[in-house]
Symmetry: C2
Subunit: 383 residues, 2 copies
């Protein structure tokens, strides 16, 4: 279903030969209208891939007729030639579909620092266009995978309208978005500024709070396209809730597929003075390598949680901190709490609750454990 669950969209996914192993590597998503409204959110990394620089410009117009996405190469740190390649890809899509290149978004994912094989990619655009289908969403989702073990899609259908989408991402997951490409589509009849508001509200508390390994990508792209084909204009709150649900679902799928992970960890920070404090503390806990190793070893090592909290500027008193692991308050008032042997860590899901005793705000950050498999996978990625 994916990006073609909503009416007014076609998609395809093919193997253009960008990946040497012959796996699918090129996806095309086309908005057949009647509306071409769109919004986008991009990586906050200052080193941005060529397709991000291109698509940021495209999105300023608030209209996107097509999105072309490739795996097998990030086209990041590739200089003027890389940008020319992105531009040529958009022109090729526009040429084949009879669109305007200024309304064609481009997204790429894969290794940084390599030019794309344009001699394969450009003919691939023709093949992808020829295979466009209202049932092509799954194939598109498959074609954007890199180290993902599964493809990720999500759909919410409401009263006469739908929001659906696809995502890829398994490593380099950190805020300012996770390393990922996401395309969401809807047949709701909405203007670009409404899409933008709903998308930013949703990503701020979903993708932005997934922090697998603290590494921020050069290529993160989240697009939301509206075709208006349902001829329904939902209330903003209802629409925003649907976008949030799809983003949240895709974000959960990303963290569950994180490279090498054996534990999914929900870091919940409660009773913070501000939401920003809660997020800062949550991220600090989620990024603590020693803690992530301990969780891998099924060791409820709450001292590492406290040492992570202590590095933040959040409001708290060290002797008022409480920490629960899987519901057992192993740390109370900054010291030893309930018996750590009561903590059952046999299951994949782990919840760490940090009570700052400083207010009423809260936030959840999603992360995973640090494993030897993560090291192996990322030691060998480009070789």
């Amino acid at each position: 279903m994916s990006v073609t669950a909503a009416k007014g969209f076609q998609a395809s996914g093919i193997a253009a030969g960008i990946k040497e192993n012959g796996n699918p590597d090129l996806a095309l998503v086309v908005n057949t209208g009647p509306r071409l409204a769109a919004a986008g959110v991009f990586t906050s990394n200052r080193v941005k891939a060529a397709p991000v620089l291109w698509s940021e410009q495209v999105l300023k117009g608030g209209q996107v007729s097509a999105v072309i996405l490739n795996s097998g190469g990030a086209n990041a740190c590739t200089g003027p030639k890389g940008f020319q390649d992105t531009h040529a890809t958009a022109e090729k899509v526009a040429d084949v579909l009879g669109h305007n290149a200024a309304e064609v978004a481009v997204a790429s994912t894969g290794l940084i620092g390599l030019l794309l094989p344009m001699g394969k990619l450009l003919p691939g655009v023709e093949t992808a266009a020829a295979q466009l289908s209202e049932h092509g969403g799954e194939k598109a989702a498959i074609a954007i995978k890199t180290t993902d073990s599964v493809h990720k899609t999500s759909v919410v259908t409401k009263d006469g309208w739908t929001v659906g989408g696809m995502a890829k991402g398994a490593g380099m997951l950190a805020p300012g978005l996770a390393t990922m490409l996401v395309v969401l589509t809807t047949d709701a009849d909405l203007e670009a500024d409404v899409l933008d508001k709903a998308l930013r509200a949703a990503t701020k508390v979903t993708f932005d709070r997934v922090d697998s390994d603290g590494c921020m990508s050069t290529n993160d792209t989240v697009l939301l396209l509206a075709s208006g084909a349902s001829e329904v204009t939902p209330e903003y709150e209802e629409f925003a809730a649907a976008v949030h649900t799809v983003c949240d679902d895709l974000g959960q799928q990303l963290i569950r597929d994180a490279e090498g992970a054996s534990k999914d960890i929900e870091v919940e920070v409660v009773n913070a003075a501000t939401e920003d404090d809660a997020v800062e503390v949550g991220r600090s806990i989620a990024r603590n390598n020693l803690l992530k190793c301990a969780i891998h070893g099924e060791d409820p090592n709450w001292g590492r949680v406290l040492s992570a909290i202590g590095t933040t500027a959040a409001a708290f008193e060290p002797d008022q901190l409480n920490v629960a692991i899987n519901g057992v308050w192993v740390c109370k008032n900054g010291g030893v709490g309930e018996d750590r042997d009561k903590v059952d860590m046999r299951y994949r899901e782990v919840r760490i609750t940090a009570d700052l005793a400083a207010g009423n705000e809260s936030a959840v950050i999603w992360t995973n454990d640090l494993t030897a498999d993560y090291v192996h996978e990322n030691s060998a990625y480009s070789s």
Copy 2:
């Protein structure tokens, strides 16, 4: 030689039974004067262990007659009882030696969140005092080891005076100091304020720039004690240089003994607008798990260096960045540079040079690779 290389110091290291495996776990360093001047630098973690809270108070007086250090337990997050235990330890040392407890510094290292076995520690103080010797520096250095594979000492002797020291630390190494205990001694005849100035200047560019795993400890302590026994008062610059040399040497020993590491990585940031920019960029590179895995895999993955630089607020233009790995400029002007196959990564030492092309300042951060051995060691530490 360690802490007893300088005249006017005695030390010992014994097995008090704090560690269940029977290894040495209690060290005592005594300044026999005539001067008792001292300076200290402590963790900037807001969650501070009881001995840190105690020793910070002791150091405010500028006089330290003895330092008692235990491994086998950090006495962090142990509440009022933990602080009472630290106090009792200092009182015991003072009682046995005929000193003033307000001049006895305490340092602990080991697992967070466990009370120390005072029934073993206090009798151990008597044993340690009985074994004090002008040749006890090595034994003291051995007794403070936790996961360290070797003990660490360093000595610089100048014209009639000496600076020597010992250090422990192998994980949780990050600025605001590395996780470590360090005791430096000198027989130079200097006031506490001079010691403080020289110690802060040295730690800022040595221990503070060692970043093994980004995790900041609750127990970091660096002390510098002066006995005045040489009756020589060196020039400040000469003394500061000697302290720097010893700190730098010990810092290098710490990073070379980092848990599970197979590569020692020197991250050199050059042509930064400010020294702070250089340090920020260096730390971001040093903490990038994906890059650390790539280095482990002997993969000169410079894209991960650029993506780490891009997350900082330092002054630079993405298309002017240059990166060398082991002297090969694999990234030029933000894009592909020399052939990455020219990079020889067979050796343990790896140098990453990031040229920000934004000024004339520079800094070096020391780190290591991320390995499966690190994961294994830190998955099983407390169990």
